[in-house]
C-alpha cells in the first residue's frame, strides 16, 4: 500500500465522517435536549435529497437545490414536531420508537406516491466535478473535498451557535435541566420546535450533498441512520462535540478497515480467503469500535456522567 493510496483513503474516511456528522449532530441534539429517540431522522435525510433532486431538475441550479433541501427538511421537521413528536415527550422510549418508526413508513410510501419507485437523478455541479491534483501526487474528487470543507464549516457554525448565542444557551440549559428552564420563563415548546427543525435541516442538507454522488431513492436514509446512531453512542448522547469526534472516528475506521484489512490478511493467508474474511471483518469494524468505546467509557467519549 503506497503513501498516496493511504492518504487518499484517509481523505475518504474524513469525508465520510463529516457527512455522518451532519446526520448525527441533529440526532444527538434532539436526543440531548428533548430526550427523544427519532428513528425518522433518516426520512428527513431522504426528504432533503428528493427536494434537491426535484429542484435541480426544475431549475438546473445546484445552489437552489441545496437551499430547497434545507427548507424542505426544516419544514418537514417542524411539521413533524408540531403534529406528532410533541405528543411523545412525556411517553417512554418504546412509544417514541414505535411512533417514529411509523413515520418512516409514512414518509417512504408518501415519497413513493409523489415521485415514483425509480431513483431520481441529481448530479454534482460542473464547477465541482472531476478530480483535483493535490500535493504529493494525490488525485482527489473536487466534490468530496468540498464536502469535507462544508462539513467542517457547519461544525464550526454549530460550535458558535451553541457557545455564543442566546438560543445556544437555551439549548445547553435544556440539556441540563428541562423543568428548570421552563420554570425560568423560556418558551420550551418553541425551543423544541426550533431544535427539531434545525436537526432536520442538517439531515436534509446531508441528504442533498450525498444524493449528488449516490442514488436518490426511497429508503436511502435508513442505512445512514444506523451509522448515525453508532456515532452518537460512541460520542456520548447529547454532545455535539462527541458527535463530531465520533463521526470522524467511525468514518476513518470504516474506510480504512475496508481498505487495509483485506491487505493485512493477505500477508499471511491465501488471497481469496483474505478478501472475504477481510470484507466481513471490515463491515464489523465500527461495531467493534463502538463496543470497545463502551467498555472503556460506558457513556460514550463525551457523554455526561
Amino acid at each position: 500500500m503506497t503513501f498516496v493510496l493511504l492518504a487518499e483513503q484517509v481523505l475518504n474516511g474524513l469525508q465520510f465522517g463529516v457527512m455522518l456528522f451532519l446526520m448525527a449532530a441533529g440526532l444527538t441534539l434532539i436526543f440531548g435536549v428533548m430526550g427523544l429517540i427519532n428513528l425518522a431522522h433518516g426520512s428527513l435525510y431522504m426528504v432533503g435529497a428528493f427536494a434537491a433532486a426535484a429542484t435541480a431538475a426544475a431549475t438546473g441550479s445546484f445552489l437552489l437545490a441545496l437551499a430547497a433541501s434545507l427548507a424542505a427538511a426544516a419544514a418537514a421537521g417542524a411539521l413533524m414536531e408540531l403534529m406528532v413528536i410533541r405528543r411523545l415527550y412525556a411517553r417512554d422510549h418504546l412509544d417514541q420508537v414505535l411512533a417514529t418508526f411509523a413515520l418512516i413508513l409514512i414518509f417512504s410510501e408518501g415519497t413513493r406516491w409523489l415521485f415514483g419507485s425509480f431513483p431520481l437523478y441529481l448530479d454534482i455541479p460542473d464547477a465541482l466535478s472531476g478530480p483535483i491534483s493535490l500535493p504529493f501526487g494525490i488525485d482527489y474528487p473536487r466534490y468530496r473535498l468540498a464536502i469535507i470543507g462544508i462539513g467542517l464549516v457547519v461544525a464550526f457554525a454549530m460550535y458558535l451557535l451553541i457557545t455564543r448565542t442566546r438560543i445556544g444557551i437555551q439549548i445547553r440549559a435544556g440539556e441540563e435541566d428541562r423543568e428548570m428552564i421552563a420554570a425560568l420563563g423560556v418558551d420550551i415548546s418553541k425551543l423544541y420546535t426550533i431544535v427539531f427543525a434545525l436537526g432536520a435541516a442538517l439531515a436534509g442538507f446531508a441528504g442533498a450533498l450525498i444524493g449528488a454522488i449516490q442514488s436518490v431513492q426511497v429508503g436511502m436514509g435508513e442505512p445512514v441512520l444506523i451509522l448515525a446512531f453508532v456515532v452518537i453512542v460512541i460520542g456520548g448522547i447529547g454532545s455535539v462535540k462527541g458527535a463530531l469526534v465520533g463521526s470522524i472516528l467511525v468514518g476513518l475506521t470504516d474506510t480504512l478497515g475496508r481498505a487495509l484489512l483485506p491487505v493485512a490478511f493477505a500477508t499471511f493467508m491465501e488471497p481469496s480467503a483474505a478478501t472475504s474474511l477481510g470484507a466481513s471483518l471490515a463491515s464489523m469494524a465500527i461495531y467493534i469500535l463502538m463496543a470497545a468505546v463502551l467498555i472503556l467509557r460506558p457513556r460514550g467519549l463525551y457523554g455526561a456522567a
Partner: protein, 377 residues
C-alpha cells in the same frame, strides 16, 4: 401496497367474481421499499401479457413481499393453503426464492421464476415443477467474462457485494474470463459509498473493471467512479444498467458495456410489439425485468392453452415445450428447466434525452447454465 396495486387487485377481484377463473396465479413480488421498481416492472410486464391475451380464465392475486423472506413465506403459505393457487410466480430476490420455492414445489404447486435464479435451484435442488424464465444467476456474469476475453482485457479488477448472489457473480465471471485479476473485493450489501474501493482500483493498474452492484448500489458506484476521474473501462451485468435506473446514473453510464439476455432494440416482432405496447400502457420504457414478467406470463398462457393445470404431468410438458413467442427471440428450456438462450453485449447510449441500451454483439450463444448436469429430475 400502493394505491395502484390496490385498485388493480380490486379490479381483478371484481373480474374474478364475474368469470370464474380456471387457473389461479399467486404473484409474490417486491412492491415497496428500495427494490420496488423491479417488482413493479415484473408485475406490469406480466399483467400486460395477460391483458393482451384477452383470456379471462387466468386469475392473478398480487402480494407485496417487502423484500423480506419471512413475509414472502407467510404470503406463499396463505396463497397455497387458503387461496388454493395453482401457480406461483413473481419473486425478485434469490434469498426470498430460496425461502419460498422448495416448499411450494414440494406441495405440488408450479413455480415460474421471472427473475431470481439461484444456483441451488438449478443443480441438485432442481424440481420438475420449478421453471426459471429469466436466467440462472451466473449467466450474465459469464457472458461478461467472455466479453472481457474478446475485448482483450487481461487484468481485471472485480467487485461484488458480500452475499450469495455476489459470490455467484464473481464465480460466473471467473468461469469464463481467462486473464489475471488485478484485485477482487467484496463490498458490504447495501453499501452506498465506494470511495475506498475506487481508490484501490485506481492504484491497482487494472485494464478493466467488472462489477455486480444491483439497484442503488450501482448508481452510487458509477457516479462516484466517473467523478473520481478513473478511465479504466467498466463491464457489468445488465442489472446496473436497466431502464429504471439509467436515468438516475446519467452521463456516468454512457458507453459502458453490459450483458443481458434482452434489450429494447432486439430485432424481432414480439419484442417490437412488447416495447411499443408497454410504453403506451405505462408511459415508460420497459426494463429487462418487465420483459421477463411479460415472457413468464406468455409461457403460462401457452401452457394453459395446451393443457389443464390439474393434470400436473401434462401441464409440465406444456411448460417444457416453451411454445410461446419470447421477446428474446429464440427461447428453450434446458433439462433443468432453465433457459438456453443468447446473452447479448449492450452499450449504454443516449437517445434524445433518454439513456438506454443498444445491442453491440452476442456474448454467448445458446448458453446453458453450468449446473444442469447436477440436476436429477
Amino acid at each position: 401496497m400502493t394505491l395502484k396495486t390496490l385498485i388493480g387487485a380490486a379490479a381483478l377481484t371484481a373480474l374474478a367474481t364475474v368469470a370464474q377463473a380456471d387457473v389461479k396465479v399467486g404473484m409474490i413480488t417486491t412492491l415497496s421499499g428500495g427494490g420496488a421498481g423491479l417488482g413493479m416492472d415484473v408485475r406490469d410486464g406480466f399483467m400486460l401479457a395477460l391483458k393482451q391475451s384477452g383470456r379471462d380464465d387466468i386469475e392473478v392475486i398480487i402480494e407485496d413481499d417487502q423484500r423480506k423472506p419471512d413475509v414472502a413465506v407467510q404470503i406463499a403459505d396463505r396463497m397455497i393453503q387458503a387461496e388454493d393457487v395453482d401457480v406461483l410466480t413473481g419473486i425478485i430476490w434469490s434469498n426470498l426464492a430460496m425461502a419460498v420455492v422448495p416448499s411450494a414445489t414440494a406441495q405440488g404447486k408450479f413455480y415460474l421464476s421471472p427473475n431470481a435464479g439461484p444456483s441451488a435451484l438449478a443443480g441438485k435442488g432442481c424440481h420438475p415443477l420449478y421453471f426459471n424464465v429469466a436466467w440462472q444467476n451466473d449467466n450474465l456474469h459469464e457472458a461478461a467474462g467472455a466479453y472481457a476475453n474478446s475485448a482483450g482485457y487481461a487484468n481485471s479488477f472485480i467487485l461484488a457485494p458480500n452475499y450469495p448472489a455476489g459470490q455467484d457473480a464473481l464465480t460466473g465471471y471467473k468461469r469464463f474470463y481467462e486473464g489475471d485479476l488485478a484485485g477482487e473485493i467484496y463490498t458490504k450489501l447495501g453499501q452506498t459509498d465506494y470511495a475506498a474501493e475506487i481508490a484501490q482500483i485506481r492504484a491497482s493498474g487494472a485494464d478493466s473493471v467488472f462489477f455486480f452492484l444491483p439497484g442503488g448500489m450501482g448508481i452510487s458506484f458509477l457516479k462516484q467512479y466517473a467523478d473520481a476521474g478513473v478511465d479504466i473501462p467498466v463491464v457489468g451485468p445488465a442489472f446496473s444498467f436497466d431502464q429504471g435506473i439509467l436515468q438516475a446514473v446519467g452521463d456516468a453510464a454512457l458507453g459502458v458495456v453490459n450483458t443481458s439476455q434482452w434489450s429494447k432494440d432486439l430485432d424481432n416482432p414480439t419484442n417490437a410489439a412488447f416495447v411499443e405496447s408497454f410504453e403506451a400502457e405505462y408511459g415508460r420504457l420497459p426494463s429487462l425485468y418487465a420483459s421477463q414478467g411479460f415472457d413468464t406470463a406468455n409461457l403460462l398462457i401457452s401452457a394453459v392453452a395446451a393443457a389443464d393445470v390439474s393434470d400436473a404431468a401434462a401441464f409440465q410438458a406444456a411448460l417444457e415445450a416453451a411454445n410461446f413467442d419470447s421477446t428474446r427471440g429464440d427461447f428453450a428450456f434446458g433439462p433443468n428447466h432453465h433457459p438456453i438462450q443468447d446473452i447479448y453485449v449492450r452499450e449504454v447510449i443516449k437517445e434524445g434525452e433518454i439513456y438506454t441500451n443498444k445491442v453491440i454483439g452476442i456474448g454467448l450463444e445458446d448458453h446453458a447454465d453450468a449446473y444442469a448436469a447436477e440436476c436429477q429430475m
